[in-house]
Amino acid sequence: MTLLSARGLTAGYGPLKVLEGIDLDVNEGEIVVMLGANGAGKTTTMRAISGVIARHGEITFGGHNIQKVGPDAIVRAGIVQVPQGRGTFPELSVEDNMRAGAYVRRDGSGAVQADIAKWFELFPRLAERRTQRAGSLSGGEQQMLAIARALMSRPRLLLCDEPSMGLAPLITQELFQIIERLNRDEGLSVLLVEQNANLAMHMASRVYLLETGRIVASGTAAEIGADDTIRKAYLGF
């Protein structure tokens, strides 16, 4: 079943148009990977879906039109983004970062506290540093925190914008394993933006290739990986 669906999505910054009409679907339970070079519009796509920049076109989520609603309502509907470069609140403690992630929830602090405990189990290193300022964490820990914070809103769709950026390969692998686990165990749908195609491809249900604001190819991971021309031109392996 289609969870997120975008048709003719355009967005940009002021007079500068970055996305020139994108069609995109994420089905329930999928991990969808979006690949593309620098400046292709990957981050803009994410920000457009999250509603933090002006966008046009048709976007529905779980059958509801979300084109006109603001970023807070989008989080409440169940889409949450882990922004590029982690985007933690550096001056806040790890725990307060998590609480801020639960900002849209209305089910009381007991339930929020229970969720914090649950995600601390998945990210034990965060539990050790719960009272530290987020800014004092290492890059990998901050990325974990950013994901944990996103999970605190109880999302149905997680948008991850280049989580591997600036991380050591081992940590990236660990991170991707966690994302796969969340997808498998929690039924979380994921839209993942990556430059690091090698790693992302093998966990993807489907792949989109983005180039200068347009989708130039899409298909299952196997199809895209099998197409020699695409592989050579865009994936580089």
């Binding site: 970023p71 933690t88 609140f89 550096p90 914070r149």
Partner: protein, 308 residues
């Protein structure tokens, strides 16, 4: 000893006024990174409003609450109508707008309440007896170790501690406080977790102006007269307090305010010949200068990459 204690308490009570205005400066700075030069004039406008409510027969306690409400609306309105649209252009434009607001409110105070005693430059003064929130008759004092402590001083100190404590609880243990801290820390990420940053900033400005209004009312009660230049020097003392405490630290604002008040009174008291009442403002100037040169983040602030 008694004299020292006297000066200490006088300093603390004056400092509590600076602390209230400094709190307002800090709340706004944390949220938006702007220094609100109109903070003092916003407080003065609300103070005049309290005076007006008093003239209409509203009891002083209620009038003060209404004045704080006026301050809240003024502050919140300023954020929505002026600061938010202009901050997309440049920090300099925001600075100029706060200066424009400073001048406009100062003129408006004169136009609404000033009467004909004002010269055309609108920087004159109207002397009006202002109702005091706390008892301030010459007989309202109690003795501690031989020092006569005015009840007014005592209550002012209590007030700033209550307000400071209340804001501390709000910042650290409420959802609104969490949102305010999150927006101050990272505005874009705040949007991504579903915080309405616009509303948070609007409320921040409102709270800042309401707290400042309280400071204005208390100060007006202390000096028992309200005039248009009432807040010029108070603003600088408050800014010195915020600088000393750290522009992003509410606790620092309270400590800084009290410290500035005490330093001033002790220096002016013990070095009367050299400093006296005239050069008290020089103390604030030196504190600002020294802190900005030696420790720009203040005593309790966190140093950030410069914005301007």
């Amino acid at each position: 000893m008694a004299l020292f204690l006297q000066r200490l308490v006088d300093g603390l009570s004056e400092g509590s006024i600076y602390a209230l205005l400094a709190l307002g400066l800090v709340i706004i700075y944390r949220g938006t990174g702007h220094l609100n030069f109109a903070q003092g004039e916003m407080a003065l406008f609300s103070t005049y409003a309290v005076y007006q409510f008093g003239e209409w027969g509203v009891p002083i306690g209620l009038a003060v609450l209404m004045g704080m409400a006026v301050g809240f609306v003024l502050g919140a309105g300023t954020e929505v109508v002026l600061v938010r649209p202009i901050s997309r252009k440049s920090p300099f434009a925001v600075f100029i707008v706060t200066i424009g607001l400073f001048q406009f409110l100062n003129w408006l105070d004169g136009a609404l309440w000033g009467g004909q005693q004002l010269p055309s430059s609108a920087m004159g003064s109207k002397q009006g007896k202002f109702p005091s929130l706390f008892p301030n008759n010459p007989t309202d004092y109690f003795n501690v170790f031989g020092a006569a402590i005015k009840w007014q001083s005592f209550w002012m100190l209590v007030l700033v501690l209550v307000i400071g404590g209340g804001l501390y609880v709000m910042f650290n243990y409420t959802k609104l406080g969490l949102a305010m801290r999150a927006v101050a820390s990272n505005s874009e990420s705040s949007k991504l977790v579903g915080i309405r940053t616009g509303t948070v900033l609007m409320v921040s400005w409102g709270i800042a102006a309401a707290v400042g209004a309280l400071g204005g009312v208390v100060y007006a009660g202390l000096t028992t007269n309200v005039n248009q230049s009432l807040m010029f020097s108070v603003f600088i003392y408050a800014a010195a307090a915020a600088t000393l405490g750290g522009f992003d630290s509410p606790g620092g604002a309270v400590v800084g305010g009290l410290a500035i008040g005490v330093i001033q009174n002790l220096v002016a008291g013990y070095a009367d010949e050299w400093v006296g009442q005239q050069m008290k403002v020089g103390v604030a100037f030196l504190v600002i200068l020294a802190v900005l040169l030696l420790r720009p983040a203040g005593l309790f602030g966190t140093s950030k990459v410069e914005r301007v």
